[in-house]
């Protein structure tokens, strides 16, 4: 099953490679990994999207906790959570395609953030599934380039990950 793990870790240069090294050394799946500093500059927050049986996820969590620079690990799937990913997609938009593209972007609550004669760049946020759905909804030849951030996740309501 797909799991989203949220980590707080010391904002130190080697920490990221320890995490990615752990995943490759132990053969764990990694769908996406994002990391950035938090409001506390000594801490970074990482979101890892992975998949595996319950036993594997349990091992992943334990192994992550064992890394010295990791302060906290939560499996967001243990409760309610929100997941968002940002995608920038450059699409061909000339002639009558322009109208159509704009409409599709609106339907998906995307925004056109860059415009040229021949292309639009659309910004879209949502779950990975929604972003996929958008890419499927538009004609595939129209897609010139995509870039995605990978998922970030946060617990709902009172679920707070802090030190």
């Amino acid at each position: 099953m797909r799991h989203i793990l949220s980590l707080l870790m010391e904002n130190e240069s080697g920490a990221l490679s320890r995490v990615s090294g752990l995943f490759s050394a132990r053969g764990y799946n990694i769908e996406s990994l994002t990391v950035a500093p938090t409001e506390d500059p000594t801490l970074s927050r990482m979101t890892i999207v992975t998949s595996g049986s319950d036993d594997v996820i349990e091992q992943i969590t334990k192994q992550l906790n064992k890394l010295i620079e990791i302060v906290k690990v939560v499996d967001l799937n243990d409760g309610e959570y929100i997941e968002r990913e940002l995608m920038l997609v450059k699409v061909r938009a000339s002639g009558k395609e322009r109208e159509e593209m704009k409409r599709m972007a609106d339907i998906f609550r995307g925004r056109v953030i860059d415009v040229t004669d021949k292309a639009y760049t659309i910004e879209l946020t949502g779950t990975g599934t929604k972003l996929n759905a958008f890419l499927e909804a538009i004609e595939s030849d129209a897609i010139l380039e995509t870039v995605r951030t990978g998922a970030s996740g946060i617990g709902r309501g009172e679920r707070i990950l802090k030190v």
């Binding site: 080697g14 490679s17 064992k66 010295i68």
Partner: protein, 565 residues
């Protein structure tokens, strides 16, 4: 007053109470060596290869429970040390490795003798650091010792660029460390301990299985008390030998790939298993699918949560310091009025005795060629079972584990996890330095001993009277055994041709060498060797080439699927 980074390094080690540093100099650590030269508190042991430095620090740590320290230079110094570091890592041994690095401005420019030390060692250390500011040296070294020795121990590396050792800073050694991201658990959860007690009380066919965690956690006394109070059978892993006295009747021998018939059968057939500081390693339980039994309940005590339910699902996990958990368990057991069913336990013991009567370790004692097992048995007699025994990797290691009966912890020192040939001799140096008056033996094979043979020179320089018991079968015996069993007797590259004359070799290094070819000479030679208190004696025993280690659980099989002699 400001002092140099190099001096800070030395002062930190002094503050930690370090007695020996095992090392090898080079460009990146020259300032540190210069400071070593200026003082006399820390003793430096100059090894002949950096692998030996880490093994020696490791052997020292295993034998005396203190953190071992190694010092190596950048580049090849570090890469040579990696085997030693990985060895310590796999067996959770507290070692601090200080490595030199090229100067900070040169990092990343493919400088002379530059390697990404932190990157190379990352997967085989508990943690590592690159020090980027002279002001951080003291706190980093403090953290390194703390991390190495606490929780589940392990090697920690501190990489220090050369310019940082030259820079100046005030020195003050932190008295304490606290790291919000590292807080190892010590006490076991009391609810879990209660559950464990219930399982123990309901057991009809109980078994206690303990590993290296009991040795590292200084819990042999507690384990022994628990086993005796309960009257249960006990087995130890290769890493756990000495955790429970091997001469005690409740000890059923080592378990695993070359474990005894009775230990493996009891392990497989028990209904309640108490696993203590052990990790259900593949060499210990074989194939987990074959090991699985629906009506077996497992209690697992370990300091490392990630060791629990990794290969085998357990029913009652108890995370904590093994010693503290065992103390609590003993206390609570004493307070309960219940007892496990006696008749069931008696029946279980008679089953175990029946397995034991199979005499799975028997060998031809009347052989006209020296049997390796015979040498180990005689060694046990001659040393009154009181020696510190290191070993290399192969058949000799297994015979040492099977035939030398360890009654005390920290007497059996071997590379269990990584299986590193070359470990035995340098480890023995560390052990001998930790216990200067004690008998220290390295049981080895003619292939393994050649992997770090150069340390004979170190032994000469520091007067380390280690006794080397070379079980010379002219084969990489363990490889030959697998080829015999599983590869149609095709002995590909496992014959040790062109062997040196070990007697002359020992003599060339300034030691005593003896070659023993007759079974009747074995005991006499050993006695003579151990009477030479101040000499390193290299005993080259010419042993039976075709002898195999039994029992054997072939890879991928279950514990009860043993090949027996």
């Amino acid at each position: 007053m400001q002092i140099s980074g190099a001096e800070i390094v030395i002062r930190c080690l002094q503050e930690e109470g370090v007695e020996y540093i095992f090392g090898y100099p080079g460009g990146a650590v020259l300032f540190i060596y210069d400071e070593l030269f200026k003082q006399s508190k820390l003793k430096h042991v100059l090894v002949r290869h950096e692998q030996g430095a880490v093994h020696a620090a490791d052997g020292y740590a295993r034998a005396c429970q203190k953190v071992g320290v190694a010092l190596v230079t950048s580049g090849p110094g570090v890469t040579n040390a990696v085997t030693g570091i990985a060895t310590a890592y796999m067996d959770s041994i507290p070692v601090v490795i200080i490595s030199g690095q090229v100067p900070t401005p040169a990092i990343g420019l493919d400088a002379f003798q530059e390697v990404d030390t932190v990157g190379i060692t990352r997967p085989c250390v508990k943690h590592n650091f690159l020090v980027k500011d002279v002001k951080d040296i003291a706190t980093t070294i403090k953290k390194a010792f703390y991390l190495a020795a606490t929780g589940r121990p392990g090697p920690v590396l501190v990489d220090i660029p050369k310019d940082i050792t030259q820079h100046l800073a005030e020195f003050s050694y932190p008295q304490e460390v606290s790291m919000r991201s590292y807080t190892p658990v010590t006490r076991g959860h009391s609810g879990q301990i209660k559950k464990a007690i219930q399982l123990i009380m309901d057991a009809k066919r109980p078994m206690i299985y303990s590993g290296g965690g009991v040795i590292l956690g200084e819990a042999a006394g507690e384990l022994t008390e628990l086993v005796r109070n309960l009257g249960f059978p006990c087995t130890n892993t290769l890493m756990g030998l000495g955790g429970y006295p091997a001469t005690d009747p409740q000890f059923v021998g080592m378990l695993g790939m070359h474990g005894t018939y009775e230990a493996n059968m009891a392990m497989q057939n028990c209904d309640v298993l108490l696993a203590i500081g052990a990790r259900f390693d593949d060499r210990v339980i074989g194939n987990p699918k074959h090991f699985y039994s629906e009506d077996r309940r497992i209690v697992h005590i370990d300091i490392d949560p990630s060791s629990i339910s990794k290969r085998v699902k357990v029913d009652v996990p108890i995370v904590g310091n093994v010693r503290e958990v065992l103390q609590e368990l003993i206390k609570q057991l004493a307070a309960t009025r219940e007892k496990p069913e006696e008749a069931a336990l008696a029946a279980w013991w008679s089953q175990i005795e029946e397995w034991r009567s199979r005499d799975c370790l028997k060998y031809d004692r009347a052989s006209a060629i020296i049997k390796p097992q015979f040498v180990v048995e005689k060694l046990y007699e001659v040393t009154n079972g009181d020696a510190f025994v290191t070993s290399d990797v192969g058949q000799h290691q297994m015979w040492a584990a099977q035939f030398y009966k360890f009654d005390l912890p920290r007497r059996w020192i071997n590379s269990g996890g990584l299986g590193t040939m070359g470990f035995g001799l340098p480890a023995a140096m560390g052990v001998q330095l930790a216990h200067p008056g004690a008998d220290v033996v390295c049981i080895t094979g003619e292939a393994s001993i050649q992997m770090c043979i150069q340390e004979l020179s170190t032994c000469k320089q520091y007067h380390l009277p280690v006794k080397i018991v070379n079980l010379n079968n002219r084969y990489m015996g363990m490889v030959r055994q697998w080829q015999e069993f599983f590869h149609g007797n095709r002995y590909a590259e496992s014959y040790m041709d062109a062997l040196p004359d070990f007697v002359k070799l020992a003599e060339a290094y300034g030691h005593v060498g003896m070659k023993i070819e007759q079974p009747s000479d074995v005991e006499g030679a050993l006695r003579e060797a151990f009477s030479r208190k101040d000499d390193l004696v290299f005993l080259d025993f010419i042993t039976d080439q075709s002898e195999n280690v039994f029992p054997m659980v072939p890879g991928g099989k279950g514990l009860s699927e043993m090949i027996l002699v």
